[in-house]
Symmetry: C2
Subunit: 251 residues, 2 copies
């Protein structure tokens, strides 16, 4: 029974060990068929991120516990702290990874559409707005699009840190799309372009948070699991809204 007071640390802020680890870029973060024969390395870090993504999508940030995530990933809870330090850093890393991936792809679409001074038509632009979020977040093996739910919850959050995450990862691409609206819709004011962008994102959120309400309200007629159909319907609606906000718009 020696002095136990040596355990009373609590004050130290930094996680020197995990700080350098957190800069490691997760290789794929998607379940790949090659995993089963890829070798002895279990790569628990990636497994934790995938498990956490599922749990966060299901229960939200505050509703998810590190124990739940550890159990989902089949590792000990301490390992989560070893790899990510804190719950918040774990969430941030998932968010940053997915958001960077998605917005890189959205930027590529914009580059392609406006290459050589071309002016794309509106449906193409709207497709670039939504498709990467749907396709990159979609896990072909499993059922749901987990990050979309996280994104939808984050977009509506009032928490300052969550707002910062959105601003950091999504604002620059958002401004590119707003400018694109001004080019594709001649005569629209900057103000209305911003409104239209926010409204369009709102429409997309309906799709991202798959709650099953569409099927319920339609007695099963509407199938929101058919991604291509969904993108087509959304495109139609959003194009209609955008054209209506532009003063000189063709029907």
């Amino acid at each position: 029974m020696a002095a136990e007071h040596s355990l009373t640390v609590k004050g130290a802020g930094g996680y020197g060990l995990t700080d350098q680890l957190s800069s490691r870029v997760p290789s794929i973060m998607k379940a790949s068929p090659s995993r089963s024969v890829s070798g002895p390395a279990p790569d628990n870090r990636e497994a934790i991120m995938l498990a956490a993504e599922r749990v966060f999508a299901r229960s939200g940030y505050d509703g998810s516990s590190m124990r739940d995530i550890a159990k989902e990933a089949n590792v000990s809870q301490a390992l989560l702290h070893y790899h990510f330090g804190t719950k918040e850093k774990l969430f941030d890393e998932i968010f940053s990874f997915r958001a960077t991936e998605i917005n890189r792809e959205r930027g590529r679409h914009l580059d392609r559409l406006f290459a050589d001074g071309a002016i794309p038509d509106l449906p193409q632009l709207i497709d670039a707005l939504f498709r990467p979020t749907v396709e990159l977040g979609h896990d072909p093996d499993r059922f749901g699009n987990f990050f979309s739910r996280i994104l939808a919850a984050s977009a509506n959050s009032d928490d300052p840190h969550t707002k910062d995450l959105i601003a950091e990862h999504y604002d620059s691409t958002a401004l590119r799309f707003i400018s694109a609206f001004e080019k594709v819709l001649p005569g629209i004011s900057r103000e209305d372009a911003v409104w239209a962008y926010m409204f369009s994102i709102g429409v997309g959120m309906t799709m991202m948070a798959r709650t099953g309400r569409t099927a319920r309200l339609s007695n099963g007629i509407c199938d929101d699991s058919d991604v291509e159909l969904l993108l087509r319907k959304i495109n139609l609606f959003v194009c209609g809204g955008l054209l209506k906000m532009a003063p000189a718009a063709k029907s």
Copy 2:
């Protein structure tokens, strides 16, 4: 007036004491000038609901603690359990009260618009869709529209109980609006009417979760605190989307 217990609907549940209390309809739940002379009763029950509404709107359900709410309401934590039993019942009662109030008003608007077999024009119908949520949830004294944030979070939630709340309080009115879309937009399919309704709600969510992003993206040009302006912009966009989904639509 003998048996008032006929109001005790909630049959299930184990809080015999609070069950009959929970049927008490909160008189106003909004700060009213008549409160100052209404009597000596401080009506802490109402104060708790108002405080909880603010805390839930700020931090979400899981992010809010009964201690936070008690402190916000300036009462003891035990009083929350005395009046509402559990945290979940407290949330449900707030949600039910506001949702009932809002959808009663939305129904009244629909009754008026379709009275005597009349067919309203689309902007009027869209106004009925959103205005009650904005106006009834809006506390003129204070700053924010707290219930709108709760509603936006609930609409995107994956939690079964939260989904049930939405379905219970919002589905019947939603079906009325979907049928109204079919009447106002001749030729639109039932399927597209459902899609259009969900998309319109998505647009409205942008307004309800006031995150300040619109102002940030527009360098302050867009002011989302001007409710009338916001309703006008939303109306324009949503009408455009709806007309585009109807086969025989006038521009």
